[in-house]
Symmetry: C2
Subunit: 203 residues, 2 copies
């Protein structure tokens, strides 16, 4: 693939992430998308076999971007594991506020819409959330090893609850038009679920 083609592919994926965090798959028309991207249809079909194929690639791109962000935030040098998790939450809250709580999570949006309708999308989105969950479970295990969390904390169950509640909080933030649901999740997760006396502040 030459670099011009690769730039087209990347810019289509970026636009797809942008659109699909704010609107549904079914309401995202290919013609409007290509007009907005300034990309001719033939060029689109050079890179992607179909709208579904393109959307699978958008989900992969979003998953990879998010996994990298999680890794960078959770494992920043000089940060304890729980301070890393707090920093991740705070950065996401700032991101929601930046777009006035109109943009959600692409995995939550597409999952809500497509899980029951398309087995490939269901499996891909479930795997993506399971990957994020594994990363948070590792973070909680590191917090136990570092003595930040009690050894009786069930890191797997807490990480699963975190992502369940996280997707719910993003949805509720969009409905409330406010980041308050994400703030509430932050406090309740640290203080009640993890049993930490004081939720960590982000530096």
């Amino acid at each position: 693939m030459n670099s011009r083609r690769s730039v087209t592919r990347e810019s289509l994926l970026r636009l797809g992430v942008e659109l699909l965090t704010e609107q549904t798959y079914s309401s995202t028309g290919l013609d409007a998308l290509l007009r907005r991207a300034g990309v001719p249809k033939g060029s689109f079909y050079h890179h992607f076999a179909s709208k579904a194929d393109y959307t699978h690639a958008v989900i992969d791109a979003y998953g990879a971007y998010f996994a990298k962000k999680l890794e960078r935030t959770l494992q920043a040098p000089g940060r304890t594991p729980l301070a890393g998790l707090a920093a991740f939450i705070d950065s996401a809250i700032a991101g929601m506020a930046r777009y006035a709580c109109r943009r959600g999570c692409l995995a939550g949006n597409l999952g809500q819409e497509l899980a029951a309708q398309d087995e490939h999308f269901r499996q891909q989105l479930d795997a993506l959330l399971s990957d994020w969950q594994r990363r948070v479970a590792n973070c909680l295990r590191a917090a136990i090893a570092a003595g930040e969390l009690s050894a009786d904390c069930d890191a797997e169950a807490a990480a699963a609850l975190f992502w369940i509640a996280w997707e719910g909080a993003i949805l509720r933030a969009k409905l409330a038009g406010s980041t308050a649901p994400l703030q509430l999740l932050r406090t309740q997760f640290f203080c009640r679920v993890l049993g930490v006396a004081e939720p960590p502040f982000t530096e």
Copy 2:
């Protein structure tokens, strides 16, 4: 309104609840809906000014149905408040299993899709979730008064977290194709968030 017209309205609302717990607003075409209901277009427009107007009525009907179900389950005679909450969760888990985790929550589905796009839908769906939240907060306050929960439990915050995590768990159950996320929420909510030693069994 004569009774035949009222039956038409009710059957359109029932079909709307059914369709919109499984598919999106934008992919729900009025023509297909009316064909399925066996209702002529003129009759539809006798009851509803538009698809949006109809969907507002569907949301109201779903909210009222659900509030009644919550009331009946949380306040069943002879049941403690926490046993009532457990019974509500178990009945919803059974409902998800009945439809193979393909049908979600109408408020979650439409909220995910419409919150950022339509201010009236956003407000209506937010109010509906706030109503359910108030009912669970009342249940938790009753549990405190009955000595089932420690007096230092923050009923408001716990009820808010419950509905945040609930909507997230329904979404994850659709993605996982399993009720495991709802079971996990049940255990974690009772044991970690509420700090109950043994989650209640439903009779």
